[in-house]
């Protein structure tokens, strides 16, 4: 495990600076934030925060991927979203004083900065631009949640799976020279099934159909999108 000195710690030179909530701040403010935050590497499978526990602060994703999931009374996990570089986590619970309603777990080794609640509230009062950026993130989250609810109610499994694959392509897609899109994210079948609200077996059946129809290919856990146009038609999305 690298020491703090080896981990990216300065907000001024952070890879996610342009995507995060502090991107509009002046250098002196960024230096102050750097002095008050803690940066850590979370290994794959390690937990940032746990459903049912009180929030202490805000997590900023400098690098990596983190899944945010809810565990139901039956013990089943459903993935709410996947946070990537530049995203923030724990912001909703921070302002409602509610306990965390979801658990955040690294799905690959991730560099994450933590800023405590008292400091972030103080910074928001001093720099309203931070508040605006957090409101923007919250609005986007709300939009995504509304879209997901609508999708669950209005679309069939085939349409939902096509939509999920396209959304994953938007965030993690890497175009290869052959023209196919590699989804640079390793999700288990259970995780993918939970994201579209179906049983594991149902997901496997529809993925097999998609492969037979040459819409996607799979090599191990890596999925490739072959025919984006037809997936768009299935998903009924308007880009």
């Amino acid at each position: 495990m690298p020491s703090k000195k080896e981990v990216q710690t300065n907000c001024l030179t952070c890879d996610s600076k342009e995507k995060g909530i502090f991107c509009h701040l002046q250098e002196s403010d960024l230096e102050e934030i750097s002095a008050n935050k803690v940066t850590n590497i979370y290994k794959k499978g390690q937990t940032l925060f746990f459903q049912g526990n009180p929030p202490y602060g805000l997590y900023c994703m400098a690098k990596g991927k983190v899944k945010v999931s809810k565990i139901g009374n039956d013990g089943k996990e459903s993935i709410v979203r996947i946070a990537v570089t530049g995203d923030v986590l724990g912001h909703r619970s921070l302002f409602t004083d509610e306990y965390y309603t979801a658990t955040a777990t690294a799905i690959e080794d991730s560099t994450i900065c933590f800023i405590d609640k008292k400091y972030i509230i103080k910074s928001m009062k001093k720099n309203p631009v931070i508040s605006f950026n957090i409101i923007e993130k919250l609005s986007r989250d709300l939009g995504a949640a509304e879209k997901k609810v609508a999708s669950l109610f209005q679309k069939n499994v085939r349409e939902r799976l096509a939509e999920l694959l396209l959304l994953l392509k938007e965030s993690y897609g890497i175009e290869e020279s052959s023209g196919r899109w590699k989804l640079d994210i390793k999700l288990t079948r259970e995780e993918m099934a939970s994201m579209i609200g179906v049983a594991n077996e149902t997901l496997i059946r529809f993925m097999t159909e998609f492969k037979d129809e040459k819409l996607v290919e799979q090599e191990g856990k890596i999925i490739y999108i072959i025919d984006e146009q037809r997936l768009l038609e299935f998903a009924d999305l308007y880009y």
Binding site: M1, N36, K37, V38, F50, P54, G57, Y99, D116, K118
Partner: protein
């Protein structure tokens, strides 16, 4: 160096003063406060319940009421040499980095001397 060198057990009077400033929070579920090799995000004072301490995934100690963990590492930017896991339904006070740094920077703060002593005690040991 001893793994638990920076864990402090506070007297109830000092623990009480910290609780006045940092009210205890109940944690319904078990939770990794920090993993081995990480800098704790905040420092924790255990008020009720217990904290299990692991080194290389092996349980080495259970900490009880009055234990203060992560303070030295948080202030000095040092990686913890152990993993700390909070048991379900435990109560801890959460000591934020920004607040601790403010206390240490401000000699007028009523808790300045107390925190300075806690940290210096660990530096000297």
């Amino acid at each position: 160096m001893h793994v638990l060198k920076y864990v402090t057990t506070l007297e109830s009077e000092i623990s009480g003063k910290i609780q006045e400033r940092f009210p205890p929070l109940t944690h319904r579920n078990a939770f990794h406060l920090f993993y081995e090799g990480q800098i704790p995000n905040v420092s924790y004072l255990l008020v009720d319940g217990f904290i299990k301490v692991y080194k290389k995934k092996k349980l080495i100690k259970e900490l009880h009421k009055g234990s203060l963990v992560g303070l030295f590492e948080l202030v000095k930017d040092k990686s913890a040499r152990y993993m700390a896991q909070l048991s379900p339904k435990s109560k801890v006070c959460v000591l934020e980095r920004s607040e601790i740094l403010n206390i240490l920077k401000n000699p007028e703060d009523p808790q300045h001397e107390m925190f300075k002593c806690i940290l210096e005690d660990k530096l000297d040991s």
